[in-house]
């Protein structure tokens, strides 16, 4: 077991290194005219550093003036020591900006994940138990509709109904206009209210996938021989479902959820942007559109690493949850 984990971690590290090399190459492949134009635009902003300073900083952090491998080594060394440079867009060290905003994304993601689990797992199990029934049809159509729903359309419809027609929520932002005048409890409530529409959007968008995943796996288990045995020996249906079937469905489910867990840190770029929730997704969207190379570089590398960590956690969890899995 430990051997497997160590091997998996080593593999993940190798892939992360190569993945960040690709990210580095992408930044290096940007047309020089683009980099220079963005740097020049940046330097004309009030309070910004000079053009030469920005280019010098680029060279010092990314080794733009040396060959791609030397530059990558230089950049990697800096990155490992936590030196990612200053964000051009936010005029702050990249790491500090990241620390400021990551909380919003994690809170948004965690609440969404909670609602998803609470909704999807029972519905998926129900659909599998009553396969081909009217309920199953309805749940399947609902799940497919959720998968087919573009995030931006759902978000815009929600805004149209709840912000514009009913006036319950603000269109944008994480805090209202009078946030500063509220007491601590009021501030919390204000933020919570602003989180409702993004959470609903995200939950609906992600609902379908998890629901179908649960249903498929539950069906697989329900068709297994040991379920037939359990029924044959006369166990009540409830016991068959909850003890024999559902527990076995949990194995792929936990693997899937453990894959989702590190991804909480990735932020929901589209949803956060649509609702202007200042989490990592919206912030990096702004950075990317504004040509903020240091922040973009950080975010892309961060996501690359996160994907690998998620896959690794899922692999390890799969082995941990299912005692039948024996890895050499």
């Amino acid at each position: 077991m430990w051997k497997f984990i160590v091997r998996r971690v080593l593999l993940a590290i190798i892939i992360i290194v190569f993945g960040s090399l690709i990210c580095y190459a992408v930044i290096r492949m940007l047309p020089t005219s683009y980099v220079e134009r963005v740097a020049r635009q940046r330097s004309t902003m009030p309070g910004s550093k000079g053009y030469q300073y920005i280019l010098a900083q680029l060279n010092s952090y990314y080794g733009m003036d040396s060959s791609i491998l030397v530059g990558f080594a230089k950049w990697g060394g800096n990155a490992l020591r936590g030196q990612w440079g200053d964000s051009w867009f936010f005029e702050l060290p990249v790491i500090q900006k990241f620390a400021d905003v990551i909380g919003y994304s994690v809170v948004l993601g965690s609440i969404t994940l909670f609602f998803e689990m609470v909704l999807c797992i029972p519905l998926g199990v129900l659909a599998a138990r009553k396969q081909y029934s009217r309920t199953d049809y309805f749940i399947t159509v609902f799940a497919l509709a959720c998968i087919s729903l573009p995030t931006f359309f759902l978000a815009t419809i929600l805004k149209y109904i709840f912000s514009i027609k009913l006036g319950w929520f603000d269109l944008y932002g994480i805090v209202g206009r009078f946030y500063e005048q509220l007491n601590a409890f009021g501030k919390f409530g204000d933020m919570a209210v602003h989180m409702i529409m993004p959470i609903v959007t995200l939950t609906f968008i992600n609902l379908g996938g998890l629901m179908r995943f649960t249903r498929t796996n539950m069906l697989e288990v329900l068709n297994a021989d040991y379920i037939r045995t359990a029924r044959a020996k006369g166990l009540p249906e409830r016991r068959v479902i909850s003890k024999h079937a559902f527990r076995n469905t949990l194995i792929p489910l936990i693997t899937y959820l453990s894959y989702l867990l590190p991804n909480l840190f990735a932020g929901a770029m589209i949803t956060e942007t649509l609702f202007q929730i200042p989490g990592i997704g919206y912030i990096s969207f702004q950075a990317m559109v504004g040509g903020d190379i240091p922040f973009t570089m950080f975010y892309v590398t961060f996501l690359t690493a996160l994907t690998q960590i998620s896959l690794m956690v899922a692999d390890v969890m799969y082995a941990v949850v299912d005692p039948r899995v024996r890895i050499q």
Partner: protein, 597 residues
């Protein structure tokens, strides 16, 4: 034994007897030919697909969408970039009226009074100087009435030195200075007049110390604040004539009621600050010209100002009315609005029919979904947008299939080190975050102002390059199991080429799964493209996909007020992707009946 035989025969006979009149019974037999070979595998798949209600709904949706996008554009009476106009009645500036507070000049025939001289004249007038010189020409002026001045060009003919009432003359060479003129000059001096007439010409005397300069003066211009307008177009030539203007001005200055010009008698009537000149030649006074301190300028140069209209404005002004009516060129009564726009300046507006882009029009019979913010028919735009959305989806999925089948096929068939290497390569590709790369690309293309047609090409290419890993995995997994099967050993035994083994024998067996995967990822690609376009990082004008159409909803004003500009596009995306998912799901179940059980 016989009874048994008999019984057997009897039983056989029974069967035969029963079977003959009742053929359906016969088909129940397991080895019946008709029963065994009824359906080909693809027919079976088709039957299973058709039995799935959701899949059929999905297929109907997709067929409808394809017809809508690819045939709809042909049927639609409008073209994709046709703009529509509407006529709107609005108060539009028609004329301007200004109270004249500047001197205006009328030049005598054959004389000119240039702009530089006019400026000098104003200075001389304000400074009280009797003469001024510009460009080698000496000028003098005299006041003839309120805001009325005559301007003369002077030519010195002699100087006179006055000594105790006697004058000693020095005559300029070549100038004519007869004794009668001297007498006229002296008598004028005796009366202390600096200007005098003699023999129909005018002369001036300017004093400089003890010497007097005597000049012949020629009237070259009139400076006045009054504006002349003719009642009829044919009067304009007379009114533009200097002598007529002069005669009228002088008559006004003197307070005279009549004057004559070129043998015709005119009379002058006052109305407030306006004077009207009547032509008396036909016996009854005919309104000939209007003299006022107001200038009217038409907003459009090809509309002639009529005195009647000017009269109407002045009447309205005097009556302090903001609305008045007047007849226009074709005799119809029109209503006008008059409003002070600046001190001493009024704007006259009238209701004008203006042709405008018919933007954001409500749904109607001619435009079933209204028009967009460029005045184009929404439904037609959606049809053409559907073409692009669907085409982007297909091209991207084809690219994904191409790369995915090759890499997955090679990886699955060879296995071992190659498989390991390719799988790690896929892992690597998988961890490249799709959205940041696409958004950075969009931002770079925005900054470098890439042509929209190149852009759509690059977008499809990058979507394909980022999305093939899923297909490669599916192909690999399927081929790994297939290659161990007997038919592959047989294929190997016949000694055909490796590429033929992979692409002729293995890949067709992967086809069902590929079709399912491709159908499902089509929906995903359409959503990705629409999301990118919605965020402004995807396709650009003039290309329109459903995503760029719904992009209008990023404008809060549009989103709030014009639901028909964004909800239909969103619904089309939703329904199309739903159709792809239904069909993909149905196909999966149809291809893989074990899952159904």
């Amino acid at each position: 034994m016989l009874p048994i035989n008999e019984a057997n025969t009897k039983a056989n006979n029974d069967i035969n007897r029963e079977a003959a009149p009742d053929p359906p019974e016969q088909s129940q037999r397991l080895d019946d030919e008709a029963r065994v070979k009824v359906l080909s595998p693809s027919m079976l798949v088709f039957k299973r697909f058709v039995r799935n209600r959701l899949a059929v709904v999905g297929a109907i949706i997709l067929i409808t969408m394809f017809l809508f996008s690819f045939v709809g554009g042909v049927i639609s009476p409008y073209s994709q970039s046709q703009t529509f106009y509407k006529n709107e009645v609005m108060w539009k500036e028609y004329a301007n009226l200004a109270v004249n507070n500047e001197l205006r000049y009328a030049e005598a025939d054959g004389a000119s009074f240039p702009a530089s001289a006019r400026a000098q004249f104003i200075l001389a007038l304000n400074g009280g100087k009797a003469t001024f010189a510009v460009g080698g020409v000496n000028y003098t002026w005299s006041r003839r009435g309120e805001d009325l001045y005559s301007i003369y060009a002077t030519n010195e003919i002699a100087t006179a030195l006055s000594l105790a009432g006697e004058y000693a003359y020095t005559i300029k060479p070549g100038a004519d200075f007869p004794a009668e003129l001297q007498a006229a000059f002296e008598s004028a001096q005796a009366l202390n007049q600096d200007a005098f007439d003699w023999n129909g010409a005018m002369y001036t005397a300017a004093r400089a110390g003890k010497s007097l300069s005597i000049s012949s003066a020629r009237e070259i211009a009139l400076a006045t604040m009054r504006v002349f307008d003719a009642y009829e177009p044919e009067f304009e030539r007379t009114i533009a004539a200097y002598d007529f203007r002069r005669a009228v001005e002088f008559a006004l200055a003197e307070g005279a009621d009549t004057l004559s010009y070129e043998g015709i008698n005119y009379s002058i009537g006052r109305a407030g600050d306006v004077d009207i000149v009547y032509d008396l030649s036909s016996g009854t006074p005919v309104e000939f010209a209007i003299v006022s301190p107001y200038i009217v300028q038409m907003a459009s140069p090809d509309v002639r100002l009529t005195v009647e209209f000017k009269d109407a404005i002045l009447d309205a002004l005097r009556a302090k009315q903001s609305l008045f009516t007047s007849r226009d060129a074709d005799g119809a009564e029109r209503e006008y609005q008059i409003a002070l726009s600046m001190p001493n300046q009024y704007t006259i507006k009238r209701e004008t029919v203006a042709q405008m882009y018919d933007t954001e029009a409500r749904p109607s019979w001619s435009h079933w979904l209204g028009t967009d913010s460029n005045g184009m028919d929404m439904l037609t735009r959606l049809m053409y947008g559907g073409r692009i959305s669907l085409m982007v989806g297909f091209v991207v999925v084809l690219i994904e299939l191409f790369i995915g089948v090759i890499i997955g096929g090679v990886s699955g068939y060879f296995g071992g080190a190659i498989d390991l290497l390719l799988m790690r390569f896929i892992d690597l590709f998988n961890c490249i975050p799709q959205w940041p790369i696409l958004i950075i690309m969009g931002s770079v293309m925005d900054t470098l102002e890439i042509d929209p047609y190149v852009r759509i090409f690059l977008l499809m290419l990058s979507l394909g390059l980022l999305g093939w890993t899923g297909i490669a995995r599916v192909v690999r997994g399927q081929i790994l199991t297939l290659r161990e099967q007997d038919f592959m050993i047989a294929a190997e035994a016949t000694g055909i080429r490796v590429s033929a083994r992979i692409f002729r024998h293995l890949v067709p067996n992967v086809m069902p799964l590929l079709i399912v995967q491709a159908t499902l990822s089509l929906g995903g690609v359409i959503i990705t493209e629409a999301t990118l376009s919605f965020l402004g990082m995807g396709l650009k004008y003039p290309l329109a996909s459903w995503g760029t159409i719904i992009n209008a909803a990023t404008n809060i004003y549009t989103m709030t007020n014009f639901w028909y500009l964004w909800i239909p596009a969103g619904m089309l995306i939703l329904i199309t992707v739903l159709g792809f998912n239904f069909v993909g799901d149905g196909l999966r179940d149809a291809f893989d009946p074990k899952m159904k059980r």
